[in-house]
Symmetry: C2
Subunit: 430 residues, 2 copies
């Protein structure tokens, strides 16, 4: 029986046109990240299970991670996210590295989940992290970078929104202001994280189910729902407003405003799924009605590096998946026309394969990417083939051309023809 | 207990300096491949087990592949090589694609084996394939490209050697000329594949063990050993010389010679491990005495696409691993000095973080990758930090500089200082 030619379920083949788009997107992200002084790193896609079990969050590890035992009995995962890995790498060279350490990577990540729009089993994700800065400058830098990345893709600020919250604030509200237990707080956080995906009534009954009888009888439920309505820091109760985390949120929000970033706002419902966040958390949300969802997210996680037996390092980072980015660019018509890297297709007329070599090499030397048709087919068929391969220009090479040193190039889109020496034609192609 | 900060066994972390080297190597390979009209593609690192079981070769699949069952009961592999995957992708769009189809990729591959010099469990491998050319032009094109890749790295032709053989020739010699059974031939091939890694006596006793009694008594052993001594096509017995495969080998070898490639030679002992090769096979071997091993290999495999239920497509391809390439470049002193992508480190003097923004943005806009020190430490400490981060220039920004629009850059290597407007300094940096 024939083998199936489909890729593994929930994963994508990248044909050249798909890869070209990916390279364009990653190229833009790389440029902006590097303009902020970030260096690229990478790490193995297989990691030990332990480093994810520690802090990634139960749902991700238990239900969504590819875990298996290798032939030596080691429990291995195909990494579902990069944050534990980068923390491991920083810990391994804790003393040698210079801080602030600015790193980025575009790893391939895998999650075992039901494939759906914007969520595949496999994706690539830009990860940007800054290590060694305790104050809000780190958050502002990353959010400015995100804003510059959107700008570099041609996005307008009305196409997306940056929503900012603080885990410190949420913990304070739930545990101190509302007086909930740690378990209640944890469960309420998970509920808030899902609140925009579930019915309002389901959310409210969910809260009821979490709260202990004494808290249900108080005004906890009412107070919580009222806080979740807050649209600005000023909407929070006065007692909450005085908390350190609100000062910090205000520093970040006003810092962004000073930089002219006018689409960042406070959103007390932003949670981010991972258990390791310790401070500011943020998301960017697509404002397009067909794709009103989170595209990227991140925050401060000051405790991860320290899990590897070294002193902890204050860290802020974010991740931006290629699938959500591509959806965003498509919906907002921001994808540029990407052309084939091969700009010239050589049609050989007669038995000139050997004779044509010098000319072909000369084009290559002058920077032209050039494919040769050795099929020996009729010229018309060779040209048809160039067209099918989406190569824009053909170069026709017969004995006359080799002898005279003058060649003809035809633009298959416009039909225009150019005759000249190689150097002249290379200029024409540019 | 603290988590281990080591990467998974036999796999590598790429710190920025390692990633920089990898990007340099891949950049050179990409440039040359694209100059020959090849387009980049990619595919998921997880694949169904079946497509490897079909043709990769028993040892690789049984002993060296990461295989596991996913949560849906599918048998999945972390791909050990790319050839079955690219064949699958071509088969899936057999009719739509334009031939000759020129594709390349630089996938991450995994093999479960004992880590050793030049062989890790994980590596990256350039894969270049041309689909749809039945004749020797395909082999010559790939071997010319390989030669150009070495040249692009600065390698001289005396640093490496290209060794060429033919599976058709070997099959003819073993099955027709020597009259061995299919099983005997298969086992002899596996032995020849290893002959340069084992003792001569072990090799000879290995042959004895494979041959049936009738063949042992004839002159098979002697004839085989004599053929394996052949250094040129002309050293083969006259009867063998007349075989089609020798004509083909001669066309490839003389074609390469015409292109000025003078380090390619016939080597009847080149086998390549994979079972899917059907014609010419080749390797490039490092001639350095400390690393006298195969660096890359490939050949013709006309049957793989056809396994996926479509008409077969003649194909030639090769793979070149990053570990062997890096070893080669290091041993031959071909690695260039690679500099930090971040060329400027901003030291803030006083509380000027907000004030400095415009200047920093202007440097970025003019194409300078710039990192900012928000630590508030003393100037001397900030400069030390830039040095530790291997960033070549520091820019000192205080209130005076912001007000005057004139800034000072210091080259930390030479100690030289430059004062000027941003535009003047950007020119200086270039």
């Amino acid at each position: 029986m024939a083998l199936s030619s489909k890729p593994y379920k929930g994963a994508r083949d990248f044909y050249p046109e798909d890869k070209r788009l990916q390279k364009y997107m990653f190229g833009v992200l790389r440029n902006v990240a590097e303009s902020y002084g970030y260096n690229e790193y990478d790490a193995p896609i297989l990691e030990s299970f332990e480093i994810f079990a520690a802090k990634s969050g139960q749902e991700i590890v238990d239900d969504q991670t590819y875990v298996f035992e290798d032939r030596g009995g080691r429990k291995v995962v195909v990494r579902p996210e990069m944050t534990p890995t980068v923390s491991r790498m920083v810990a391994a060279k804790r003393q040698e590295l210079a801080y602030p350490l600015r790193w980025y990577s575009i790893p391939n990540l895998w999650r075992y989940e039901r494939p759906q729009r914007g969520r595949l089993r496999e994706h690539w994700q830009l990860n940007v992290d800054i290590f060694g800065i305790e104050n809000y400058h780190a958050e502002i830098e990353l959010l400015s970078m995100i804003s510059d990345m959107f700008k570099a893709f041609g996005a307008k600020t009305n196409m997306y929104e940056i929503r900012i919250n603080s885990r410190k604030l949420i913990n304070y509200i739930l545990e101190d202001y509302l007086g909930l237990s740690e378990q209640e707080s944890h469960d309420i956080c998970k509920l808030i994280d899902k609140m925009h995906k579930i019915d309002r009534s389901k959310f409210i009954s969910g809260i009821d189910a979490v709260l202990s009888p004494e808290h249900k009888e108080g005004q906890v439920n009412e107070k919580l729902l009222s806080i979740l309505e807050a649209k600005r820091l000023q909407d929070l109760p006065a007692e909450v407003m005085a908390h350190d985390s609100v000062v910090e949120l205000d520093q970040v929000l006003s810092g962004l405003e000073k930089k002219g970033i006018n689409n960042a706002l406070f959103d007390v419902t932003i949670m981010r799924g991972f258990d390791y966040y310790t401070g500011i958390v943020f998301e960017a949300v697509d404002k397009h009605l067909e794709n009103n969802r989170s595209m990227l997210g991140g925050g401060r996680y000051d405790g991860l590096v320290g899990l590897f037996g070294v002193a902890s390092v204050p860290t802020v980072g974010f991740g931006w998946g290629d699938v959500t980015l591509e959806n965003f660019l498509k919906l907002h018509h921001l994808l540029p026309d990407l052309v084939n890297e091969t700009s010239l297709y050589v049609c050989l007329v007669g038995d000139v394969a050997g004779l044509a070599d010098d000319a072909i090499n000369e084009f290559r030397k002058q920077g032209v990417n050039i494919a040769v048709d050795y099929s020996g087919k009729k010229l018309g068929d060779q040209i048809k083939n160039a067209d099918k391969a989406h190569i824009k220009h053909v170069l026709i090479v017969g004995e006359d051309e080799v002898n005279s040193g003058k060649f003809k190039i035809k633009n298959l889109e416009s039909g225009k023809e150019y005759v000249g020496t190689i150097t002249e034609l290379v200029k024409e192609l540019e």
